[in-house]
């Protein structure tokens, strides 16, 4: 039998991309984020290639005589309270803010997503056991929880990551559980069961793809929140240790000099703001693009 000519089958990824790129705002957000990722990657490469020479000579090099100097031709973002070049510090800080935020949220999305899906799908005792534990976690302010975890495990990048990941798990578990509950009683789930589909097939092929939209929005917002949490922990001295540059710690240490030099608070603040804004518009665009019911 000859197969008829049909429109080419588009995979979920290509179909999503086709719809995503129609949203100019979201596309801008993605370009901003990809350039940040590129910047982060190139700083890592430079560090490896020059054996930290650039890092030592420009990023953490202090020049107290020129402290708090405003933007100029030599230092386009000016110098901070120790006379370090803010432009270089901003660029070197991207990797911590962005990658750590992303990795932490990726971990909690996977963990929270699975827990929420299991709780919502199986219900009853399983649901209660998982969700009451999540409620306990949720009852503790996430910042306090992260602080406690870091304090208990010790100050290190990995521990900050784990702390933030754990503190975001309940939010994702709740989001996924809620959408699983609305989806699991629909007839197409029953149809899959009538065909003999296993529980894991139903969860991964039917329930999770249909609850992706809120999860993706939650995750992009979560990355933004995680970046702020990392900044907060750094401010408390539990996150990234000075002199390593990080936007949040730059912002908080600049706080004391806000009268003397406006640029040293404004610039890291703008960095965080732009990143978070880009994440949010991209998340919105992704949500629309991932929903096949929204046409075009």
């Amino acid at each position: 039998m000859k197969l008829p000519v049909v429109k080419k089958q588009r995979t979920l990824a290509t179909e999503t991309w086709r719809r995503f790129k129609k949203n100019k705002l979201a596309l801008t957000g993605m370009i901003v984020l990809s350039s940040l990722v590129l910047i982060a990657l190139s700083t890592i490469v430079i560090d490896l290639a020059t054996d930290n020479a650039v890092y030592n000579n420009y990023v953490i090099k202090q020049n107290l005589r020129m402290r708090l100097q405003g933007p100029s031709k030599d230092h386009i973002f000016g110098l901070d309270e120790f006379g370090r070049d803010i432009f270089m510090r901003m660029i070197w800080a991207v990797r911590y803010s962005l990658f750590m935020g992303t990795i932490a949220i990726a971990l909690s999305t996977i963990a929270g997503g699975l827990l929420g899906a299991i709780a919502g799908y199986y219900g009853k005792v399983t649901d209660n056991a998982i969700m009451r534990f999540m409620d306990v976690l949720l009852a503790i302010p996430s910042m306090l929880l992260a602080t406690a975890i870091v304090a208990a495990l010790g100050t290190s990048l990995t521990n900050v990551l784990i702390a933030i990941a754990i503190s975001y798990v309940p939010t994702f578990a709740r989001t996924v559980r809620a959408s699983v509950l609305t989806i699991k009683d629909q007839e197409f789930i029953e149809a899959a069961r009538a065909m003999g589909a296993s529980d894991s097939r139903i969860i991964f092929k039917y329930i999770l793809p249909n609850s992706m939209a809120p999860l993706i929005v939650q995750a992009t917002l979560g990355v933004a929140g995680a970046i702020l949490s990392i900044a907060g922990l750094s401010f408390l001295g539990l996150g990234i240790q000075p002199p390593t540059p990080e936007w949040g710690s730059m912002l908080s240490s600049a706080r004391a000099y806000i009268r003397e030099g406006w640029h040293i608070t404004v610039i890291p603040g703008l960095g965080i703001m732009i990143t978070i804004l880009a994440l949010n518009v991209m998340g919105d665009g992704l949500r629309d693009a991932l929903d096949p019911r929204l046409k075009n």
Binding site: M1, L3, V6, R10, Q186, E187, F188, E190, A191, M195
Partner: protein, 321 residues
């Protein structure tokens, strides 16, 4: 021929399905027994909430029965473990009422139809070309244009979606199909198309249907036998023609008189039911229809009314007969 009459394809004995709710025990299906022979259609009619959909789903063990037995080809379905049940699902399938809700919105037409083949391991993931060929055959079989293989359900109308629902069931080549109001959600013109398709499939493939509906005119021509349900119980069962000519239970009579007649001059002598629907939660003994029945007497509410065979194949649960 006599052989098939002696051994029904599906036999249901004293099937019960109770749901535990906060208000009490809901008797959705209460002591239902019947059998269906190969190639025949059993119509199940009743008003909304009488447990007809629950009955269909319980037979397929989408709900676990509270009590009673189900036999499929002399094999007891009720006691099967998960593995054997999965194998049996090839033979017992279901077409759903709402073609909007019964298709995964994230799967294309071909994925949806191929899914049942993959789940039952009739094809493996590597046999992409063969699988696609089979899917195209099935689509052709149910009258879906092959152009639509990569469309998503939301791009199609109700009739086409229901054809997808039928194609994915046929993919498994089942012997028995529960049709849970398969046309109620469709436009009248499309209803006829789908009903004709289902009838053609039955003739061609020798399918056996359990046809659930609240629309008597739909089952009249399709069914060999009809079961009338009221609040979880069978009140009457008879061959289709007998039921329409000589309904014995007052509820059946009321149902039949409610069928609209397309003739404005026809003087309708409707039986209008009075009173409230009795709650199916913790029901009292006796006939559940008694509160609305114009002929009810004290004898009706004392104890449960058993089904009585008034003529060969014609069963009624009523004190009057």
């Amino acid at each position: 021929m006599n052989d098939t009459i002696k051994r029904p394809l599906l036999r249901v004995e004293h099937l019960k399905k109770y749901f535990h709710t906060n208000k009490g025990t809901l008797h959705a299906v209460d002591d239902v027994s019947f059998s269906i022979h190969k190639g025949e259609t059993l119509g199940v009619v009743g008003e909304s909430g009488c447990g007809k959909s629950t009955l269909g789903r319980t037979i397929l063990r989408l709900h676990e029965p509270t009590d009673g037995k189900i036999f499929f080809e002399d094999q007891e379905v009720t006691g099967l473990d998960a593995h054997a049940m999965k194998a049996l699902r090839r033979d017992m399938q279901i077409i759903f009422q709402d073609p909007f809700a019964s298709l995964n919105p994230r799967m294309t037409v071909s994925e949806t139809i191929g899914e049942s083949l993959l789940i039952q391991k009739l094809f493996t993931r590597k046999q992409g070309v063969e699988l696609r060929k089979r899917v195209t055959e099935l689509m052709d079989f149910v009258g879906l244009s092959a152009k639509l293989v990569n469309s998503y359900p939301h791009e199609l109308d109700g009739g086409r979606r229901q054809r997808i629902g039928i194609a994915r069931v046929l993919a498994l080549d089942p012997k028995f199909v529960v049709c849970d109001e398969p046309v109620s959600a469709l436009d009248v013109s499309i209803q006829a198309q789908i009903l004709n398709l289902m009838q053609d499939l039955q003739d061609e493939l020798g399918l056996t249907y359990l046809f659930i509906t609240h629309d008597l005119s739909v089952v009249k021509h399709l069914s060999n036998n009809i079961v009338v349900m009221y609040l979880g119980q069978m009140v009457e069962m008879a061959p289709s023609l007998v039921l329409f000519e000589k309904p014995l239970h007052p509820y059946t009579q009321a149902l039949l008189s409610a069928i609209p007649v397309p003739d404005p001059d026809y003087a309708v002598d409707r039986v209008l039911l009075q009173g409230e629907l009795t709650s199916p939660i913790n029901p009292q003994p006796g006939c559940r229809f008694a509160k609305r029945c114009p002929y009810a007497s004290e004898a009706c509410t004392k104890h449960d009314i058993p089904l009585k065979e008034v003529a060969p194949g014609h069963f009624v649960a009523c004190t009057l007969v």
